[in-house]
């Protein structure tokens, strides 16, 4: 690893950057196929009701309407992680987004008009919107396809996780301070700039279905789609146009996708379905809303003793991958800092709210918030520095955690030390604040998988390489690009290894008929897994090139150097394209291609969730410095100090983008973003009322990468995509508490919430002083 690198570690613009900013990129919304129809979905009027009848006759009579799909006469399977979600609802509706009918018409306007002409009669039922209500014995069974009763002893539990390690009882006894708090988290959503979209093109001639889809998991999607439609998977081809943002929202296949496919199958014509922004808010996934009851302890020396946590997640009406977020959360509870004992229980509970999904961070922002708030409270009560207590308990290299995670490399302590020093945390944390504007600092850390996560039977990725007669390299990778910049990193790796300039490298990653298998883009895994896979393929292609080059240059067993389009050895050189041509036209008469499949060494966890689930682990710490206006309650984040163990920096510019983008999401989660529901109806489905922060709200970002050179990752790197948003809300809440001396048990910390907390504190004070 000490060889000098030419391009790895140097800021490199995104390969598709110019196309993106000049408008050349083709998004799903830009696709136009001959004779294409436009689809629109009729969604439920009620969040909980029986459907008495659906009358499409008026809509069908409208000129330009080609087909209307309802649950009637549909021979399909249910979808979703638990297969509890009917594609179209024919008997009952369970949430605001429920799909009742879908129209395909010759224009968007006609489709919209037709939807308005469909008559549905409902019998409204009182819905259940609070998971704790849903858990009561007298509650109605919400999802009739749920198997909670059989599996988890409660009809409204969709999924449940239990985990424990260590001696909880004795660790409780050992504790000097024990802190218990209940934390609450709302639904927030991804706000992808490109709304959900799909174009389906079914051929009645050969029965093949082509889907232009922005899925993050094309091969799982192909399988899910085939299952839903009762088709052969291989007859389904997924093409991923440029994706206008994923952030986890495209991990699940949602009903609109098979609906669009079915409309194409029924009409024999291409059909396109695009969400409006309002529909995107109403009917695309959200982060899990949840209530976390966390009790944690610390002994008199400041060593953490135990964590005991009970999580109740609002699953919504159907179950998505999001129900498996406890899988990630339990890693935080069991292994973020050294923890002797941990008991974890999480239930995803059906309600008549929209179904949640997966979102960058995957439960970890919520878990980290609770852990890091409790740590501040314990430190205060124990009289120990909030930085000291964290350093004392920080994870360390070589640690095998109670859950069995092995930290071969670990930048936890260096990251903590870095942000503590750079932010001047010690000094600022102690400054007494008064006056209108009060400053505070808050510290929080996180642990996340850094080398993929084995949650499916394979966590691998395939690569094919093709070096052409002119020295251009095509990388065909199973992995997907959703804007995170992995495509660019792959090209950089090939450039580094083969000495081929970036301009001569193409990355093909958007067609399941062409690309080899990959599990998908999630878990911060792509650069790690696809990078390793590419390195494997490169080593195979190099063997072929080396042997031909050796022959051409008349030298053996030499160190071959790849540089500027040449292969160099024994003081001679030969152009790489010449080697390719000689391989083809001369002996061995072969094309210069290679194929490799990389499967990380991580293991599938056992039924108790123990095991080393990832190829490596990422650590990060952040310090937020805030200024709170005590007149308005507005929190102004001035500085964010971010230090993250990324293993090694591959593309500094790309990494900075991930850090800043992640922070923007974390800041919104901390301060303003919230989907507000009334009886299951979203009341703020627009950017006007859903307060996504703007560029004007961004603080100064001070980023300090920690390079631990983990040998599992390409050049020592680790996954980095999710980490930057995970501890942000926790750090900000800690900072606001530090500034004001009040506690917050939920996000977002809106001006109103902050002002209310302040005024309660003041009332309390005056009340107390009156007593005195």
């Amino acid at each position: 690893m000490d060889k000098k690198l030419k391009i790895i570690g140097k800021s490199t613009s995104k390969l598709d950057g110019n196309d993106r900013v000049s408008g050349r990129s083709v998004y799903g919304h830009d696709i136009e196929l001959p004779n294409m129809l436009y689809a629109k979905i009729l969604r439920s009027k009620y969040t909980c009701a029986k459907i008495k009848y659906i009358d499409c006759s008026k809509a069908l009579a409208l000129e330009g309407v080609e087909y209307i799909l309802t649950a009637k006469n549909l021979d399909v399977n249910m979808i979703g992680y638990k297969r509890d979600h009917p594609i179209l609802k024919g008997e009952t509706v369970n949430c605001q987004r429920d799909e009742i009918a879908a129209v395909a018409a010759t224009s968007r306007e006609i489709a919209a008009k037709a939807v308005s002409l469909i008559k549905v009669e409902y019998e409204e039922i009182k819905g259940i919107y609070d998971p704790f209500e849903a858990l009561k014995t007298e509650a109605r069974k919400i999802n009739l396809n749920g198997q909670g009763e059989e599996k988890f002893g409660n009809k409204n539990i969709a999924e449940s996780f239990e985990y424990s390690h260590g001696e909880l009882k004795s660790m409780k006894k050992l504790s000097k301070v024990i802190v218990s708090r209940r934390y609450q988290f709302p639904r927030v959503t991804h706000c992808c700039m490109g709304t959900s979209n799909i174009t389906a093109d079914y051929s009645i001639i050969d029965g093949k279905l082509t889907l232009y889809s922005s899925t993050q998991v094309p091969f799982l999607y192909q399988r899910d789609m085939a299952h839903a439609l009762k088709m052969e998977p291989s007859k389904i081809r997924i093409i991923q146009p440029i994706i206008g943002g994923g952030f986890g929202s495209k991990l699940d296949m949602l009903p609109f996708e098979p609906i669009c496919a079915l409309l194409s199958i029924k009409t024999g014509k291409p059909v396109q379905l695009l969400y409006s922004r309002e529909e995107e808010f109403i009917a695309s996934p959200t982060r899990q809303a949840m209530v976390i009851d966390l009790t944690s302890g610390v002994d008199e020396k400041g060593k953490f003793t135990f964590r005991e946590v009970q999580i109740t997640m609002d699953n919504g009406a159907y179950t998505s991958w999001g129900a498996t977020t406890p899988f990630v959360m339990m890693q935080a509870y069991s292994s973020l800092y050294q923890i002797a004992a941990c008991k974890f229980q999480a239930d995803a509970v059906y309600t008549n709210n929209p179904n949640a999904g997966s979102f960058r961070g995957y439960g970890n922002p919520q878990a980290t918030f609770s852990i890091e708030r409790n740590i501040d409270l314990m430190a205060e009560e124990l009289g120990l520095g909030k930085d000291e207590i964290r350093l004392l308990n920080a994870n360390f290299p070589g640690e095998i955690t109670g859950q069995g995670l092995l930290f071969k490399t670990c930048g936890a302590k260096p990251a903590l030390l870095k942000v503590i020093e750079e932010s001047n945390y010690k000094m600022k944390n102690r400054e007494k604040q008064s006056g209108r504007y009060r400053r505070g600092v808050g510290l929080a850390s996180m642990l996340h998988v850094g080398g993929g996560a084995k949650i499916y039977r394979s966590d691998g990725c395939g690569t094919r390489l093709k070096l052409d007669h002119y020295g251009f390299l095509t990388i065909i990778t199973g992995s997907s690009e959703i804007g995170q910049g992995s495509e660019t990193v792959l090209a950089m790796i090939a450039c580094e290894e083969l000495g081929i300039p970036l301009t001569h490298i193409k990355v093909i990653n958007s067609d399941t008929d062409v690309k080899p298998w990959d599990v998908g883009v999630h878990a911060s895994r792509t650069s790690f897994v696809a990078g390793n896979s590419l390195l494997g393929a490169i080593s195979i292609i190099k063997q072929k090139l080396n042997s031909k080059a050796a022959q051409l240059m008349g030298c053996k067993n030499s160190d071959f150097v790849y540089e500027n389009g040449f292969i160099k050895a024994c003081e001679k050189e030969v152009k790489i394209d010449k080697v390719v041509r000689e391989m083809h036209f001369g002996n061995p008469n072969k094309l210069c291609v290679a194929e490799y499949f990389f499967e990380p060494t991580s293991s599938f966890q056992d039924k108790d969730f123990k095991g080393d689930v990832s190829g490596n682990y990422a650590f990060a710490s952040q310090v937020a410095e805030v200024e709170v206006d005590t007149y308005t309650g507005k929190v102004n984040v001035i500085n964010m100090y971010v230090s993250q163990d990324v293993g090694r920096v591959l593309n500094p510019m790309g990494l900075q983008g991930q850090i800043e983008g992640g922070l923007a999401t974390g800041l919104g989660y901390a301060l303003t973003e919230e989907m507000i529901y009334e009886d299951g109806y979203l009341t703020n489905p627009s950017f006007h009322e859903y307060k996504l922060l703007t560029a004007m709200d961004m603080p100064e970002v001070h980023f300090y990468p920690i390079e631990t050179m983990d040998e599992a990752g390409p050049y020592g790197s680790k996954g980095a995509g999710e980490a930057p948003l995970i501890p942000t809300a926790a750090a900000i809440a800690n900072a606001v508490s530090n500034a004001l001396g009040v506690e917050f048990l939920s996000v977002p910390l809106t001006p109103e919430k902050v002002l209310k907390a302040l005024s309660e504190k003041n009332n309390h004070k005056t009340a107390n002083s009156q007593i005195l």
């Binding site: 007149y631 303003t672 009341t683 109103e752």
Partner: protein, 287 residues
């Protein structure tokens, strides 16, 4: 959404279009930043839009400064207000309000007239104009001008005194009598841009050399059905010297401003919050 569109190019064409449409349903559109949102929500039926964006007319489109007042055409864009140095120096309240509105992109198209005629209780520019006691210059189809004080022009949320045969041509603001100013705009929202005011406070005080308040205007937004001119507070302030406002007076003034408000709960904030914050920022006026 479907509508007819007429785009008059000059004042004559405008008045003609307006006369022709008297028996029909029509709407003016200037920057369209409010109108299109409304149309999206409530699909327009058999409506003609009189598109003002192509109208070339000095009185509608420019900022003029003569005869003891400053006149701002209704089609002047917010960005023009932001760039105008005379306004910046003499009417900081107006400059700051324009700058606080939406975002750079929106300000390039949104107009002064649109903000006023939208008659939103949270309209930023409108709030500043109320504190400046601006006068609305309203043109009718006969080419006649009707003048009306802006606080009387507003009749309720989304309602103005504008008749069907009228259009807002421009507004005028009396020039300052003193160079000694205390003027500014305070906007409270959750984020730093693209934000509708949860509470706003506009103030413009002209002072004598010794600090005595000579002329004053205070307006509060988003805390009642229309933007409110705080007459009682202004009357009180006119007897004061700005340098002598002590802690007790400061709180008294803040209470007076707060008492002028009648906020409600809505999705953006509770009445409690609005009430509280108004008091707090009013306090800050004299800190």
């Amino acid at each position: 959404m479907n509508f007819e569109i007429e785009s008059p190019l000059n004042k004559e064409e405008l008045l003609k279009t307006l006369s022709n449409l008297q028996s029909k349903k029509f709407r003016f559109g200037a920057g369209f930043t409010d109108l299109l949102i409304e149309f999206k929500k409530f699909n327009p039926v058999e409506t003609t839009v009189i598109n003002l964006a192509q109208l070339k007319d000095e009185e509608f489109c420019s900022i003029r400064n003569d005869s003891g007042e400053i006149q701002i055409g209704s089609l002047v864009k917010l960005a023009q207000i932001c760039k105008d140095t005379y306004i910046k120096d003499n009417f900081p309240v107006l400059h700051q309000a324009a700058n606080a509105l939406a975002s750079g992109q929106i300000r390039e198209v949104a107009t002064v007239g649109g903000n006023i005629c939208q008659a939103s209780p949270s309209g930023d520019l409108s709030c500043a104009l109320v504190s400046l006691k601006a006068n609305c210059e309203i043109l009718n189809i006969d080419g006649k001008i009707r003048n009306q004080a802006i606080s009387e022009f507003f009749k309720g949320p989304g309602k103005t005194s504008l008749q069907k045969n009228e259009i807002l041509k421009s507004i005028s603001i009396p020039i300052n009598h003193s160079k000694n100013l205390k003027s500014g705009y305070i906007k409270i929202g959750k984020r730093s841009a693209m934000e509708c005011s949860i509470v706003s406070l506009a103030y413009h005080f002209q002072l004598e050399k010794n600090g005595k308040v000579k002329h004053a205007g205070i307006a509060i937004g988003a805390v009642g059905p229309t933007i409110i001119f705080c007459q009682e507070t202004v009357d009180f302030l006119l007897k004061q010297n700005i340098n002598n406002i002590d802690e007790v007076l400061k709180l008294k003034i803040a209470s007076m401003i707060q008492n002028a408000s009648s906020p409600i709960d809505d999705a953006r904030a509770s009445a409690w919050y609005r009430h509280q914050v108004l008091y707090n920022v009013a306090k800050s006026l004299f800190e």
